[in-house]
Structures are given as structure tokens and as C-alpha cells.
């Protein structure tokens, strides 16, 4: 994989300040096509802030973000999604009063076209598109293992299912890069294992994954490469084996966690 490494996402010197507080300080990293890239670090290290900066939710204080060598910093979130960069949220943000299926159907929005006139006239093309949206959404529900849950309201799904649904919804936008913000938080070990399987399946399907995770064991077992953030700075990057042995990481994060 390392041999023909093509960069998909390039983050260059991204800084984000809130007032006087520097939440991110010149963070740079590269995510390659087809890999699972892990982003770890203690609470408050700036992982989610970095996600929000990359996906257009926050304006950058300085720095650049490129997707496929095209600059995406300064774009609006929906434009970034349109370019094939989808995400989930740490504190699950589904559309709680829509059904699970409708949630996924919303994800098809940037890849479909019907407008008001089509919606009102229901011409042949609109009906075909609508059918395709529905079928694709069903397929994605099956894919993430929510096959029987289509008609539930999203807000009423179990916690783990909500996480899966968020992934299905993000996948519906046909992302090349999928950023997952703590996707297994609050899950039990068997659920975590299922999720890890799902991630591997996703990668096999050609989706590049960017993962924020607290579960170090999961990250180390799953990711091709890992970056470690602390106090808004990247303190290490590399394969899990290398990072695990990095003294700075041990001091800052692993050391802290193990006592």
C-alpha cells in the first residue's frame, strides 16, 4: 500500500484560535487513498476541532486543506460534502424525527437532482430518481447492518444503531473520504468488534477512512497510520507500531492512561 501511496487529503499548517486560545497549532497531515488513518489524543487535544476545520464547519485561522490536490478550505460544509468528503459527529446528529430510511435518503441529496418542478409533476425521471434513492438507501441500511430498522424514527434507535445510521447516511453521499468522530464511543466490546469489521469492509469497498478514537487498542489494531494530537499540536505520526513506541506519545497519552 505504501508503495503506490496517493495522497487524498492534505492538511497543511492548520491553526485555529478561539479568542486567545489556540485550539490547533499548525497541524499538518496527509491521508492516503485507501487507508484507515487514525487520529488520537487526550481529551481536548483538538481532534474534533480539526474535523470541524476540515469539513468547513469552522473557518481556519491559518493553513490549508486540500482534497485530491484541490483546496477545500474556505468552502462551505455542503460544498465539501459534494466533493466527496463526508463525516459523522461525536455527539450523533441524526434527523431524529425522520425515519431511519429517510435519514439515509437525505444523504443522497448531493448526488441527485430533482427540484420543485420535478417534485410537483412527478415526471418519469423524478420517479426513477426517487426509486433509485430509496433502493440505494435500503441497500446502505443493509450494508451497515440496519436492515430491519428502516421505518423506525432515527431518534428511537439504540445508541449503537444510531452510530451505524450516521455512517449509512454519510455513505449515501458517496464519499471518497469518510471521517468518523468517535464511532465506537459508548459501545460494548462485541459492538466494537462489529464496527471494526464494518470499517474494514468499507475500506475494501474503496472508501478511505479518517478516524477519531479514544480506544487505543482498536486504533492500533485497525489503522494503517496514526497521528497523535496533544494541546492542538501533532506530536507523532506513523504506523501504529512506530507511534506506540514514541516516547512523546507514551508520556503524553499512553503513559497517562496506563497510570
Amino acid at each position: 500500500m505504501a508503495a503506490n501511496a496517493v495522497t487524498l487529503l492534505r492538511v497543511v499548517g492548520v491553526s485555529k484560535r478561539f479568542g486567545g486560545l489556540a485550539a490547533l497549532d499548525a497541524v499538518s497531515l496527509e491521508v492516503r487513498v485507501g487507508e484507515i488513518y487514525g487520529l488520537i489524543g487526550p481529551n481536548g487535544a483538538g481532534k474534533t476541532t480539526l474535523f470541524n476545520c476540515m469539513t468547513g464547519l469552522y473557518d481556519l485561522s491559518s493553513g490549508e486543506v486540500h482534497l485530491d490536490d484541490e483546496p477545500v478550505h474556505g468552502l462551505k460544509p455542503h460544498q465539501i460534502a459534494l466533493r466527496g468528503f463526508a463525516r459523522t459527529f461525536q455527539n450523533i446528529r441524526l434527523f431524529p424525527n425522520m425515519t431511519a430510511l429517510e435519514n439515509v435518503m437525505v444523504g443522497r441529496h448531493p448526488r441527485t437532482h430533482a427540484g420543485v418542478i420535478g417534485a410537483v409533476l412527478r415526471d418519469r425521471r423524478t420517479r426513477a430518481e426517487e426509486r433509485a434513492i430509496r433502493e440505494r438507501a435500503h441497500a446502505l441500511m443493509d450494508y451497515v447492518g440496519l436492515g430491519g430498522r428502516s421505518r423506525y424514527l432515527a431518534g428511537h434507535l439504540s445508541y449503537g444503531d444510531q452510530r451505524r445510521l450516521e455512517i449509512a447516511r454519510a455513505l449515501a453521499t458517496e464519499p471518497r473520504l469518510l471521517a468518523l468522530d468517535e464511532p465506537v464511543a459508548g459501545m460494548n466490546p462485541s459492538e466494537r468488534r462489529q464496527m471494526a469489521d464494518l470499517f474494514l469492509k468499507l475500506r475494501e469497498g474503496g472508501t478511505t477512512l479518517l478516524l477519531i478514537e479514544h480506544d487505543v487498542k482498536l486504533v492500533m489494531g485497525l489503522c494503517d497510520r496514526v497521528a497523535v494530537l496533544e494541546y492542538g499540536r501533532k506530536i507523532a505520526e506513523g504506523t501504529p507500531e512506530v507511534v506506540q513506541r514514541d516516547p512523546a506519545v507514551i508520556a503524553a497519552y499512553l503513559g497517562g492512561e496506563q497510570g
Binding site: 460544509p77 455542503h78 434527523f95 437525505v106 426517487e130 424514527l153 431518534g155 454519510a170
Partner: protein
């Protein structure tokens, strides 16, 4: 589930025979003005016309408030724009008498353009700012209508514009009494059928919009704007679209009002009209079309019925102690507060809104979800 048990068997019976139910409904709707006119007098047929006009407005506002979750408190302004455009293009005021099939779309389009002009700068703001800006816009439009009689007489000021052309097709005019079954019927009967046709059209459009890519985008924006944007939805455009659609509906309804009434003045377009239409949506059940229809019926008919309060007072006390018109608004106020406190999702809540408003109590919510799952 919201249907009381003693009706549920009737309901089921009709549900099993959809064609029959539809035919029955069509016949009742066709016969309604004659029943109402025969039973209660012709003035009630006029009330019926207004029920339909308000229904048109409520369906339009429902797109903005119910579907997209944007609170528009100046909706009447678009209705006013539609009404005035109709009056300008089809009355002696400027000596123009264009046919209605040109004037109605022009009025609707201009109202829609105003919707975009107002929405474009304000829709990126927090929702309650939008409420205030739209409210202010409604007042601005009314103030302009009131004062644009000088130096150039555009609106004829507080006196309003008179002798507006009725709707006519070929040589046939909706404004003249017509003869049927050897009897002469006033124009209110004809307008009933015209408005009914428009209402049915609006209902179909509204339902199709709700169940479409656009409708889902509206719902997504209403539910969680950040998540909607992350799903590739251009939230500003989507909100603007809802706003413009609502304004267009309102403009069309305003044009119909203008033609029906034959006379318009700024007095018809006060803030309270905006609030009244909003109340219809809230009372009936936001986002839910049957609820909106019910709300429009109740809030148009009840105030009319309250007029009898004057007669009742006269009968009981020998004089009118409280002017029923005064009581009307007071009751609206209480109804609004009571609805929000005790039945926030409306009389006929949509599945969606019911849960949104009930989402306070986790345990109860779970129960409901089980119920829903059992049904699904």
C-alpha cells in the same frame, strides 16, 4: 390513533373502500355550498369561501413553518402583494384590465421575488431573528400601502382600490349571479368551486413537495441544520426555496382574494392576519396537511360563529356587554397559549411533530416508539 374509538370502525370501513370514500367526499364537497347556503343562509357561503382562502394561505405558510421550520410572522405581506398586483393590473385604478390567468401568476411571481429579496439576507440568521424581520417586513409593506397615494397614487392609501375585476373566463364572469335549477345563485357559490379547485391543487402540490428530495431537505434543515449541511445540502438555498414557495402561494391567494372581494385596502393586511394564519397551522398540527386544513376551518368558522355571542348577550342581558369582535382576539390569544402548553403538537399532529414536541419525556417516548414499531 388520534381518532376516537367510536369513529374508528367507520374510519376503517371507509379505508377499506377508498374509491367509495373519495366519491362520497367529492359529492359532499360539491354539494356543500348548497347545503350551507340552504341551511344557514348565503352569508355562510361567503364564510365557506373565506375558509378556502385561508386554507390556501395556511398551506403556503405551512411550507415555510411546518416543513422547513422557519417562523415567518409577516406572511400576510405576500398575500397583500398578490392582492395589490391583481388590483393594479385588473381594475379602473390604472385602467388596466388584464385577464386573470395573466394577473394571478404575475402577482404570485412578484410575491415570490419579494420572498427571495427578504429571505436572502436574513435566512442565514438565527430563526427568531427571522421572525422579527418578517414581522417588520409585514408592517413596512402595510405602511407603504397606506401611504403610497402621494405624490404618485399607487395604492390609493387607506381608502384602498375599488371595482377590481372579478375572475372571468371568456364571456363568463365569476362576479355575476348565475342561474341553475331555475334559481339564481350569488357569485359566492361560483367562487367556492374556483377556490376549491385551487385548494385541491395546493394540497396536491404541498403533499408531493413534502414527499420528495426537496421536502426531505427541508425536513433535514428543520431537524438539524449542521448535519444537513454536512450531508451536502445547501441550507441557505433550501431555506430560501421554502420561503419563496410560501410567498408564491401567498401571492396567489392574495390575487384570488382581490378578485373575490372586488375591493382591497391596507386594513385587510394587518399583523393579526399573519398571526391568524400561523395559529391555523399551530392549532391543526404543524407540518401535517389534514391538521392545517382543520385549523383553517376552525379558525375561520369559530370567529364567525362568535358573532352570535352578540345576539346571545342581547337575549340574556338585553344589551351587548362585550363586543364579540373584541372577545375574538382574546380567545385566540388564550387558545394559542393553551395549545402550546397542553397540546403543543396540534389537534392533528403529524407523526413527526408529535414526537418532536413529546421528546421531553424519555420513558413516554420509548413507549410511543414501541407502539409505532408495532404498527410499522
Amino acid at each position: 390513533m388520534s381518532i376516537p374509538r367510536r369513529f374508528s370502525s367507520v374510519h376503517a370501513w371507509f379505508q377499506a373502500r377508498p374509491t367509495f370514500a373519495l366519491v362520497m367526499l367529492a359529492i359532499s364537497l360539491m354539494a356543500l355550498p348548497f347545503l350551507v347556503g340552504g341551511g344557514l343562509g348565503n352569508s355562510w357561503v361567503r364564510v365557506l369561501d373565506f375558509v378556502l382562502l385561508y386554507m390556501l394561505m395556511a398551506l403556503g405558510l405551512n411550507i415555510v413553518v411546518g416543513y422547513a421550520g422557519l417562523l415567518d410572522l409577516g406572511y400576510i405581506a405576500f398575500y397583500a402583494i398578490g392582492a395589490y398586483v391583481y388590483a393594479w393590473l385588473a381594475s379602473p385604478h390604472f385602467g388596466l384590465h388584464l385577464p386573470f390567468w395573466m394577473v394571478l401568476p404575475i402577482g404570485a411571481a412578484i410575491a415570490g421575488v419579494f420572498g427571495v429579496l427578504l429571505g436572502a439576507p436574513t435566512l442565514r440568521l438565527r430563526g427568531d431573528y427571522l421572525a422579527i424581520v418578517t414581522l417588520g417586513f409585514g408592517e413596512i409593506i402595510r405602511i407603504f400601502m397606506n401611504n403610497l397615494n402621494a405624490p404618485f397614487n399607487l395604492t390609493n392609501g387607506p381608502q384602498g382600490i375599488n371595482l377590481i375585476d372579478p375572475i372571468g373566463i371568456g364571456g363568463f364572469s365569476f362576479g355575476k349571479p348565475f342561474v341553475l335549477f331555475g334559481q339564481t345563485w350569488p357569485p359566492t357559490y361560483l367562487y367556492y368551486y374556483l377556490f376549491l379547485a385551487f385548494t385541491l391543487l395546493f394540497i396536491v402540490i404541498a403533499m408531493r413537495l413534502q414527499d420528495s428530495r426537496v421536502g426531505r431537505a427541508w425536513a433535514a434543515v428543520r431537524e438539524d441544520e449542521v448535519a444537513a449541511a454536512a450531508m451536502g445540502i445547501n441550507t441557505r438555498n433550501v431555506k430560501l426555496l421554502a420561503f419563496a414557495m410560501g410567498a408564491t402561494f401567498g401571492g396567489l391567494a392574495g390575487g384570488l382574494f382581490s378578485a373575490f372581494q372586488g375591493f382591497i385596502s391596507p386594513e385587510s393586511f394587518t399583523l393579526w392576519e399573519s398571526i391568524l394564519v400561523l395559529c391555523m397551522i399551530v392549532l391543526g398540527g404543524m407540518g401535517n396537511i389534514p391538521g392545517v386544513i382543520l385549523g383553517a376551518i376552525l379558525l375561520t368558522v369559530i370567529p364567525e360563529a362568535l358573532r352570535y355571542l352578540g345576539d346571545m348577550q342581547r337575549a340574556a342581558f338585553g344589551q351587548v356587554i362585550v363586543d364579540p369582535a373584541d372577545l375574538r382576539m382574546l380567545l385566540f390569544g388564550f387558545a394559542l397559549v393553551a395549545m402550546m402548553l397542553f397540546r403543543p403538537a396540534g389537534l392533528l399532529p403529524s407523526r413527526v411533530r408529535k414526537r418532536e414536541f413529546a421528546a421531553r419525556d424519555g420513558a413516554r417516548e420509548q413507549e410511543q416508539s414501541d407502539l409505532y414499531d408495532a404498527r410499522a
